[in-house]
Symmetry: C2
Subunit: 243 residues, 2 copies
Amino acid sequence: MGKVIVVGIGPGSYEDMTIRADRALQSCDAIVGYGVYVDLVKERYPDKAFYETPMTQEAKRCALALDLARAGKTAAMVCSGDSGIYGMAALVYELRGESEEPEIEVVPGLTAACSAAALLGAPLTHDFAVISLSDRLTPWETIEKRLTHAAKADLTIALYNPASRSRPAHLKRACDILLRDLPDSRLCGIARNIGRAGESWRTLTLGELREAEVDMFCTVIVGNVSTKEIAGRLITPRGYKNV
Amino acid sequence: MGKVIVVGIGPGSYEDMTIRADRALQSCDAIVGYGVYVDLVKERYPDKAFYETPMTQEAKRCALALDLARAGKTAAMVCSGDSGIYGMAALVYELRGESEEPEIEVVPGLTAACSAAALLGAPLTHDFAVISLSDRLTPWETIEKRLTHAAKADLTIALYNPASRSRPAHLKRACDILLRDLPDSRLCGIARNIGRAGESWRTLTLGELREAEVDMFCTVIVGNVSTKEIAGRLITPRGYKNV
């Protein structure tokens, strides 16, 4: 019996992968994943067998990895960012059910909240929420409730999946919800293509964010009441005295 | 002029450090940090100059790193977990102020939410909040407000700094706040000494968590309404159909 290793490969660059993730990809027999993520690692591990499935076939992808493990292979299922946060780890466990076999190992990775924050400065120094704007699997009412409470709680907010071709106006809708409790001037940031070609970032206000162009390669951060700009970077102080 | 690299070293094991963090520690002249974190990396980078300051001297530590950079050195400031999340990145930016020199580079790392979740199973698959129970720099009223809204929002919650010697009852107080909105049976997990000697984890209910022994080496996760136990692991399904 082989095993499934669910590997968070981080934002996309080899350097931002953990040493454990790199070793897992070196030692496995097969690499399974969504095509875009498989493409990020293909060149560096050329001797592996690769299995790609489209975006909407997550369950099929996880079942394939489990089948490979049952056939004696070590199957690495690659996920962008962390392997758990909106990643495949839960689905692999769900599909295996109450059986203890094949073995599942979860290798965490840098989630976009961490890598986007590092690029923008240090906006997540204090308590924060991570909320996805994708309503493919979550009712919009749930997303709206979470955004509202996160704003009322003065949590810094990292928004994942701020837009896609089929949801072009989700970020605008989210900003309108946040603007019920937060001022137009609240500082925000957008990180794009983190760790990949075309990496970029900008800071802007929540009012400007409402009109901003974003796509599925963006992570958005909405600051808390203390967030400020220092030397062009987005910084949320933790509250150390005399600074 | 040198530079300051604020390096997130992850939970503590070399394997869970990113390749970029490892390279930064290899290439720097000096490693600066809180003693406990410096000790985690000292053996692997023995030719560096080490500077340690106690826990309450964060500003002094960051000023020291900036001074080393002004003297032409590359100073790596090590932070456990991520360098931004409750880490030193913001404070280094604050102390440098509006000057562009010395250069600051922020190298993100695995934050405890990611590494604890991977150890416990996959509890953070959906939207979540990260909240620290330390009231050293944050009024308890703010912490209480954030806990309350996170519970009402049905966010999974990662609790950092659940207890310390000077705050032995903070987790119990936090559970009492969460229990106003969440049931006693809500599934939770505790991860301890992640990536270090004595690593352990357990799942339990929110009612049991209220009575649990935790210390400053623990990270606590409180599940959302969908969180369940599968083969002993803590899993929050994302909502894929037909699983």
